[in-house]
Symmetry: C2
Subunit: 452 residues, 2 copies
C-alpha cells in the first residue's frame, strides 16, 4: 500500500492498465472522433471551431461584439418584426392561446428592451480568467485554477424569441459558442434574430459561428444534438417537463436540468401570523405561472387553529383555490377541495395551492423530502432553532427563512442575469449566472520541476 508522497498514485488511477486507443474508446455516437456528418453535427463542429477562437479573446473583444449585437437589433427591427409576424400568423391559425402568442410576439419596443438587456450583460463582470484557487506548492510550483469558457453550450428552449438573444448574449459574454434550438413555433423569428446576431458578431471581428441556430425543426434535430458528445460541452433544456425528461434520459452530452418548481411554504408553530400571510400570498399569487411560485403550504398543528381561517380568507381574496387535507377542509367547509397525493406532487403554475397541517417541523421536512422538486422551500418562524433546523434538513437549491419563495432568481440574487435555474446538484444548483457558464483549468508553472 502506498502512503505519504505516493498516496496520489494510489487514488489517481495507477497500476497496470492496458493501453487505450482513444478512437476505439469512442463509440459511433461520439461525434468527435467519427466522420459522421449531418446538418446538426456539422453545425456543432463549426461551433467547436468558433469556441476555440473565442476562448482566448479578451473581454473587450467579446463586449465589443455584444454592443454591435445591441445596435444591430435596433437597426434591423423591421425585418425581425416581419419574420415574427409569420410565426404569429401560424400560431393564430393553429388556435394558440393569447398568452402563448403574447410570449411569442416581438414589437419594436420589445426589441429595444432586448437590446438594452444585451447592453446590461456587457456591463457585468467577466467570469473568464477569474482565479478560483491559487497557491504556491511546497516544492515551489505555482498552481492556479482559472475560469475558462465551457466551450459549446446548447440551449433547448420554449417559444420565446427573447431567449434567443439573451442566451446568445450570456454565452458570448462568458466566451462560449452557442447552439440555439428554440421552439419550432418561433422558427422564423429565431432565424431572423440569429441572422442579425451573426452579422453583428462577424462585423465585430468574431466568428459568426459563435452563434448558430440548430437546423431543422423536428425532434430529430434535438436527438442529434443530444448525441453530439465531444462537440457540445453542455446542454441546457428549458421549458416543458417532458422535453427536459427526454433530454435527461437520452443525452450523452452532459445536461443541466432546469426549472421544475414544486415549492413549499412551511408556517411554523412560532410563526408571526401577519408575516406568514404576507409570505404565503406573495409566494403563491404574485406570479403563479413561474417556477419559484409556491405550490403547497404546510402548517404546524400548533398554530393551525389561528392560522387556517386567516389563510383561507387571504387565499380566497387572492383568487387562490385551496386543495387541502382534512384539517383544512374542516377549517373552511365548502371552500377547500380535498387533496390527494396528486396534489402534493403537482406544480400547478396557477391559482391553486395544496395545503396540509403537519404535527411538527420534522414532519414538514419529511413531506418536502418526499414531494418537493428541490427548487425552493420557505419557512416562516420567529424561532432561531426552527429556522436553523429547517435550513439544515431541507435539501433544495434554496431555503428561504422569513422570505418569499419568489426570490430564487438570478436577478434577485444580484447575478445580473440568469440562463435558467438548475434543480440538479452537479455543476450548478439554483439560479445560474455567468460563472455557471464556465469551467476551470489548472495552470501549473515551474522552472523545470519533475516528480521524484
Amino acid at each position: 500500500m502506498l502512503t505519504g508522497a505516493s498516496r496520489s498514485v494510489k487514488y489517481g488511477m495507477a497500476g497496470a492498465r492496458a493501453p487505450v486507443r482513444l478512437r476505439a474508446m469512442t463509440s459511433a455516437s461520439d461525434a468527435t472522433q467519427t466522420a459522421q456528418s449531418s446538418p446538426v453535427l456539422d453545425t456543432a463542429r463549426r461551433a467547436r471551431e468558433a469556441a476555440a477562437v473565442l476562448a482566448p479573446l479578451p473581454r473587450t473583444a467579446r463586449d465589443g461584439a455584444l454592443l454591435a449585437v445591441a445596435d444591430a437589433l435596433v437597426a434591423r427591427t423591421e425585418e425581425i418584426v416581419a419574420a415574427n409576424a409569420e410565426d404569429i400568423a401560424k400560431a393564430r391559425a393553429a388556435g394558440t392561446s393569447d398568452s402563448i402568442v403574447d410570449r411569442l410576439t416581438l414589437t419594436p419596443e420589445r426589441i429595444a428592451a432586448i437590446a438594452a438587456d444585451v447592453r446590461h450583460v456587457v456591463a457585468l463582470p467577466d467570469p473568464v480568467g477569474e482565479v478560483v484557487r491559487g497557491s504556491t506548492l511546497p516544492n515551489g510550483l505555482d498552481l492556479r485554477q482559472v475560469r475558462v469558457p465551457l466551450g459549446v453550450v446548447g440551449i433547448i428552449y420554449e417559444a420565446r424569441p427573447n431567449v434567443t438573444v439573451d442566451a446568445a448574449a450570456l454565452c458570448l459574454k462568458s466566451g462560449n459558442a452557442v447552439l440555439l434550438r428554440g421552439s419550432s413555433s418561433a422558427y422564423a423569428s429565431n432565424t431572423a434574430l440569429v441572422a442579425v446576431l451573426r452579422d453583428a458578431v462577424a462585423g465585430a471581428g468574431l466568428p459568426a459561428d459563435a452563434v448558430q441556430l440548430v437546423p431543422g425543426q423536428s425532434r430529430e434535430s434535438v436527438k442529434e444534438l443530444m448525441r453530439a458528445r465531444g462537440l457540445v460541452d453542455v446542454l441546457i433544456p428549458r421549458g416543458g417537463a417532458s422535453l427536459i425528461r427526454t433530454v435527461v434520459e437520452e443525452s450523452t452530452v452532459p445536461v443541466i436540468e432546469t426549472g421544475t418548481g414544486n415549492c413549499h411554504v412551511y408556517v411554523d408553530k412560532d410563526a408571526d401570523i401577519e408575516t406568514a400571510l404576507k409570505i404565503l400570498i406573495n409566494s403563491k399569487a404574485q406570479r403563479p405561472s413561474v417556477c419559484n411560485a409556491a405550490e403547497t403550504v404546510l402548517v404546524h398543528a400548533g398554530i393551525a387553529d389561528t392560522f387556517l381561517p386567516r389563510a383561507l380568507a387571504a387565499l380566497t381574496e387572492a383568487g387562490v383555490m385551496v386543495h387541502g387535507d382534512e384539517t383544512w377542509q374542516k377549517a373552511g367547509p365548502g371552500m377547500v377541495a380535498p387533496a390527494t397525493d396528486e396534489d402534493w406532487a403537482t406544480e400547478y403554475l396557477s391559482y391553486d395551492i395544496a395545503a396540509a397541517v403537519v404535527p411538527d417541523l420534522d414532519a414538514a421536512v419529511a413531506h418536502i423530502r418526499r414531494w418537493s422538486s428541490g427548487h425552493t422551500e420557505a419557512i416562516v418562524t420567529t424561532s432561531q432553532a426552527a429556522a436553523r433546523r429547517f435550513t439544515q434538513l431541507v435539501d433544495s437549491t434554496t431555503v428561504a427563512v422569513n422570505a418569499s419563495t419568489r426570490f430564487t432568481d438570478g436577478s434577485q440574487f444580484g447575478f445580473g442575469a440568469e440562463i435558467g435555474i438548475s434543480t440538479q446538484k452537479l455543476h450548478a444548483r439554483g439560479p445560474m449566472g455567468l460563472p455557471e457558464l464556465t469551467s476551470t483549468k489548472y495552470i501549473v508553472t515551474g522552472d523545470g520541476h519533475v516528480r521524484g
Copy 2:
C-alpha cells in the same frame, strides 16, 4: 418585453406553462417516484435515507466515525486478509498477471497504511458548510451559498480493495452516503472491508447504510445503478475505458468522467534543452502506467536538430520506444517505429511514446486539440509569450509550464486526497478533492421579505 425589476421573470421560466404533475414527469426508469424494487434500488434507497441523516451532522460526528473505521480496520485485519486470500486464489487460478494480483493483495502492513490514510482524511478541512458566496442584497435579504453534501455518491471502480476504504472515507468526510461497486474479482475483499466499515460507522452512532456495497457481481447491477436517477446523485466511474464509455452512454444518473490521459509534452523553439529532457523523461518514464504520464512529445522544428538526438538518447536510456514521424525516424535511423494516426490517439500506459515535429506552437496546439483527451499538456519554453499563448489556447484540465505532466494529482496539488481526475468540464475538472464531492444550496434570510 420585461426589463428592470422583472427581467428575472423573463429569464427565469415564466409565462403560461401548463401544470406539471411530477409523478407524470418521471419515467419508469426514474427510481424516486416508482415503487420499482430490486436489490440494487433498495440499496440505493437505504443510502438515500442514510444521506438525509448524514447531511446535518457536525464534523465531529463524521470524523469520529472515520477514526472508528481506522481502528476497526487494524483490529479486524485477520478477517480482511482471509477474505482477500479468496480473491487472490481465484485470480491466480484464472491466470491473472502478477501486477494485477499485487494490486489486489492486502497484507497487514497495507491495511495499516490504509487505516493511516483514513486518519489523514480526518485531518483534512471540512468542506461541508463552507460559505462559497455571501452578501446582503439591496433589499436587506441575507444571501449565503453554502456547501452541502451531494447526497448519494456511486463509485464504480477497478480491482483495488484500498479504493473501497479510500472512497468511503472521502464520502463520509464530505457527508455523503456511498454506494461501492468494485470489481467482481475483489468481491470477497470488498465484502469483508465493507462489513468492517459498516460496523464501525454504526458503532460511532451513524447509519451503517452510509456505506454499502452494491449487491451482485454482474454487469446488470451496474446498469441498475446507472438508472437509479433520483436515488443516486452522481456516479463516478474509474478504471477501464470501456466501462467509463458505457456509463457515460447509458447512465441517466449524472456522471463525472475520470481518468483517460493522452498527455502531451511540447518542446518549444525557445526551450532550455536540459530542462526539456528532464521534463520529457519524467513525464514519460517516471511511472508510465498512470493517467498523467506523457504519451506524445511534440517538438518545434526550430529546435529539432539539436533536441531530437539528445531526446532519442535519453528516451532509449530510459527504456522508452519512440513511435515517430519522418523527422524523428531520420534523426534515429532504426531506433524509431513509424507513427500512424493510431499512435497519436493512443494512451500507451507503457514505455512507448509517440513523437512528432511541428512547424510552430500553433501547430502543436492544433495537434493537441485534435488528439488529446484533455487531461494534461506541458510546454517547455523560456519564452514568456509562448508560455502565455500555450496556456491560453490549450483546453485541458491542466496546463503545465516548465513542469512535468506528472503533477496533475490531488495530492501533488495539495488537496490531501483525491477520488479521481475528472476529464469533463462540468462540475469538476482535474483532480477532485473533498470540495468536488459537494454541491451547494442558497440560504436566503429575511424578516418578512416579499417581492413587489
